[in-house]
Amino acid sequence: MGLFRSIAVIAVVTLTGLVYVHQQVELVKLSYSIETKEKKLKVLLDHKERLNYNIDNLEAPARLEKILMSKNIDVGFPGKHNVVKIAKATAGNAEDHLRSSGIDRRFNPLGIVDFLSPRAEAQARER
């Protein structure tokens, strides 16, 4: 009995040790994996920043003017008669319209039996 107990204790300790070592190994592997992914993320973010910078560079007014001038395209700002100001729309978005008109779909508890009867629905004609 005593021998059996000793063997059991040794087995439990050994198993615990193995689990602990396995856990640490997995942690280290995870660290490497995180590091690799973080490096990748950094590279992608760097690339994105650089692309944004390139866009800003390409959109620089001096550069655009230079290109237009080199192609003899004379671009100027519109004169006072060429600018027509349109007032901003007073209506809000479509949902606001719908709500205020009272015809928005409200929850219908009997809607679950709708499938039993055919519905008339307008359909866009395909061109």
Partner: protein
Amino acid sequence: MHSGTFRTRLIAVFLFFFVSLLFLALRLFYLQVIRHHFYYKLASEQHTVSVEVPPTRGTIFDRSMRVLAVNLNSNSVFVNAREVKDKKALARTLAKILELKESYVMQRLARDKAFVWIKRKITPQEAETIKKLKLEGVAIIKESKRFYPDRSLASHVIGTVDIDNVGLEGLELYYNKYLKGESGWLISTQDAKRKLLESYQYEFIPPKNGFSLVLSIDEVIQNIAERELRKMYEKYNAKGASIVVMDPKTGDVLALANFPNFDLNEPGKRPPDSIRNRAINDFFEPGSIFKIVAASGLLEEKLVTFSTKFDCENGQWKVGRRILHDHRPHGILTFKEVIELSSNIGTVKAASLLGAARMFKYLEAFGFREKTGIDLPGEVAGVNRPLSGWSKVSMYAIPMGHEVTSTAIQLACAIAVIADNGYLVRPRVVKAVLDDKGQVIKEVPVSVRRKVLSPQTVFKMRSILMGVVKSGTGKKAGMEDYTAGGKTGTAQKVDPGGTYSHNRFVGSFIGFAPVENPVLAVAVCVDEPHTVYYGGDVAAPVFKKVVDDSLKYLNTQGGYAAK
């Protein structure tokens, strides 16, 4: 007998192993218990690493949130000199790729250090070449570098940073404490190959990224101003030129440009005379532009009316030992005509009604004895003597803009007084400071320094200055679509001997538009134009083109509507 020998040998072997194991156990006990602290500390030092996490420097935006300055990662080359066997060959290779002197690279490699910079913030092509070669002891790390997408646009306003991203000039210097941010720290474990083990991170203090600046500068108006200034600068082979475009009501500087200028991405290659911000650093005698001060004072004190007459002595007037000249001879002129036609004699005679004390009062009121307070480093106030320092002949010089000095920004603020109902505003380049999430953490308020003129005087001055453009010396500033008012100035520079030069001039024009509701106040100053040098000929056309295009542009932005 045999069993006795066998038993003895067995005991001997057992004792041998037992003693060996006992020795090992005791040794283990010594190392892991007695010397635990020592070896733990040693391992900790080897495996624990503190890494500084650098912050990202804040971005600089124009007033429409277009990027003017941003940070991107750049490659820097360093060498572990201790690992390099053939230093000469490596020096030759690196010098060729990085365009450095071989002797310099050799000097760096001669250092017995594990980390030696060779070149920081290199081009992507250079980095790619070095990576491909896989050179012994050579490694590349990422560092943050400042980039400016518009290259030379607003170069004197934005300024430059050094290799460590510390501001050196312009806004980069003035607002460095906002832009720089604070480093963070990462305390973690590293393996034998110095790879960080994220799972064993002890502590992470995130960096505080720098705040961003939103400027009052408009990228489009800045480009218009620089384009026209460059054309004039090259056409008249000037020594230098400056332009300031302001919103007279708020003091917003919409554009500030100087020539010569430089590419912000290559500050090391700029010529020495392009470094300083002439609009705020250079002071000069303004000449006839300064007549607006005397004229404003006379009208404010109700000493003259538009029709008050002055004898302009046909262009030549002897006063004591001095002879005053007009650039064109005039006879009797009304006060309005004196200013429109920029008669020196008429101005001096009119100013004598004002007197020295009140002349000085208005000189001060218009801000010519103080800095404007613009948020850029290096501004000067010019050199203007106190009233006690004026001589008996000062009143024959000061009203026409001699014996006084001013900077381009002071002139812009002065004309803005007439454009903004008589108030002297503080010019501002930065409107707001944002955090890295885009939240406003500080707004720079509009600041009115003082009231200078009454609305009635402003109305009269606007009318006179409109006359300068319509029928006076500033005709070349007139536009088809918009009304404008302004004043020309052509000042002789002082030669080293102390006398006025006959071939070195500063030609200027200050003005505002539209007259009925000024939206823009502009000062254009040209240093030593050749062969033409009158302000009305060199500076006024720049004003016209810049203001015309700027007002049309603002009109498309829902800003000012044309007359």
